[in-house]
Symmetry: none
Subunit: 201 residues, 4 copies
DNA sequence: AATGAATGAGAGTTCATTCAT
DNA sequence: AATGAATGAACTCTCATTCAT
């Protein structure tokens, strides 16, 4: 038992540090990420942070993994109903709405990817998965007759991904929910009910 | 001819510094903006930079102005033909394609705006102008019979702005041109020719 | 006429700069003396200041001269009455009371003199003059029968100078007027009236 | 013996830094205080100095405390003989004579106190204690019959403090020991022997 | 006689990282 | 596994001084 707790604790501390860094990046950007503050938030010494993550870069890698996992979890469409596509779009929207940190961090990662080849690879891969997922959903919706056949294409997947991207950024301005509504309309899947709490725009 | 002398005027040096900072932000983000490097790129002493911009923050304000001006210039649709809307969309796309720094800097500003109230105001205003411009173009296209009447709405403007935003970021991944093509298709304005050099995706 | 005015102007500007520096030293110490602020206060460019005073050190020399002149003017006892000594003590006290800058600057100079041999010489000379002046007054007072003969000595002159020094500093604390009163009492010259406005302590 | 190890404890390093700063202020004034030089004198990196004192101002506060403690230690008259007052005056004089830095630093603090309210408070308090201490000694000396009764007053205390102040400054000029001798004479406590080494003037 | 523009040298401060314990 | 102490390198910003005009 006691072994399990200790092991658990080690992983706990690691992910506590990652989570703190994740929040710091969301709140102040890479620009404002300070290892000392991250350590302080978790309540450990700065040297302890370096025990778990030898360099700041390694800590950031941890944040990347975390953000990806967080995002990917929604990318895998769950639920099996015929209107999976609509559910999916809404799930993505809801995710960044409920956890605005995610949008902020994804934005930071996106910008950073042009300077960091490794990150660029990760992001590209993520986009690829995303694109394929959406395209798969489109095909299925068409096959099951929930959508007009002309909608099935890379191009529609591309615009969906682009819109979701634009809509997920913590932008001052932009009208995310209006955009989402129109997207559903164009896709011909706009009918079904929306969360009451989302009524705002 | 007297205008063509090589002597640096005050304004020249100011904008040279702003431009260098602009490029640095595009290349390395706010995270990597170093006043000394900016000064070095222009070929002046760091103290000279501070002669023109008392603080780093003031220099950044200069960059914000520059980026806004650069962007806004395209936001005002020029050309008066009936297919203004298509031209407009393509102009925006071409702008960030020909000058990728702009997309990068706009992305940085967008993220920064959540931490900087002044910048937030500027961005919000810019989005507002952008949204209205697009909506105006939509209305006009409908009135002149180039578009179906049901398309005229805030929602279409919103998705256009969101897509253009998503498409302008220097993302590793994403398929900007596919998305743009589908956007034109949905708007029913996809006919006209495109620049050959843009055929890539 | 116009020649006279020009000549006058040059000297004016010099002494305006010295006076501004004098005030700055009084207000913020040598620690806080900034040539740019001095120039700004006079309303000229920093380069103009350097036209009149090639270095900051030269400007400070100007301030030293000014302060010395300001102080020495009172050191020469004017008035010829029998109670010159009392008048003299009060004149010194009144001087630094009416122009607190003088005490502050003299204090700064005193401290600086341990680091600046030239200034040390100047100060030493000033103290010498001061001491002799006071001793002369003492002797005369004794001779004219206003004071007990045993009081005539270097030692009394020394304590007078020391007290006046201690009393002239812009010290937070200390009770200058009480000290002055006791000094007069010990010298046996305390009778005569004092300025009403000085009643405070 | 375990006490005698050479290892620097936290407190040691702190006070080593304060002491170095104290000496620097004495030698070059606030004007010439450089954190880097202070750190170098102690043999540590500048960052280490900032580990102990987050800002230069905090370091200066440390110096103020040190100087006050150094001074106050003498202000408390020790020794219980009947001629405490004379011993006290001489102790003060000897203190600044043996450690001229103290006079210099006190002078710097005095001047600075007009610009720094916190310091002003500290200095005022110190003067208050000083004044009361001297007055207490005077009263006692009178009561025990070592002094004429008319001498017991705030005014005598004030002139003693003023003289000691004037005499303690590192002035180029002034005749501190003459002044002190006359002070003792006026107080009627001049008899007793003086340290041979002090015979100079 | 006066100035705008420019600079070298250096100031205080910060930060990721290391190391002995 | 954890920490206090220490550091090198770099950062933004300042200031007296210079120079072409």
């Amino acid at each position: 038992m006691s072994t399990m707790r200790t092991v658990q604790t080690r992983a706990d501390r690691r992910s506590a540090l990652v989570l703190a860094a994740y929040r710091h990046i969301a709140a102040r950007g890479f620009e404002g990420l300070r290892t000392r503050e991250v350590a302080a938030e978790v309540g450990v010494n700065i040297a302890t942070l370096h025990y778990y993550f030898p360099t700041k870069e390694k800590l950031i890698e941890g944040v990347v993994e975390h953000a990806m996992r967080r995002f990917q979890s929604t990318l895998e469409p769950h639920g099996t109903s015929a209107d999976q596509l609509r559910n999916y779009l809404r799930a993505v929207r809801r995710l960044v709405q409920d956890e605005p940190e995610l949008g902020a961090v994804m934005g930071e990662l996106m910008l950073r990817s042009s300077r960091d080849p490794t990150l660029a690879g990760t992001m590209e891969q993520m986009y690829e998965v995303w694109h394929r997922t959406v395209r798969g959903l489109l095909k299925r919706a068409v096959k099951e007759g929930h959508m007009r056949p002309d909608a099935d294409s890379d191009e529609v997947a591309a615009i969906i991904v682009a819109t979701l991207t634009g809509v997920s950024l913590p932008s001052a301005g932009g009208r995310p929910d209006l955009a989402m509504r129109q997207l559903e309309r164009w896709l011909g899947i706009g009918a079904a009910p929306r969360r009451p709490s989302q009524a705002t725009d």
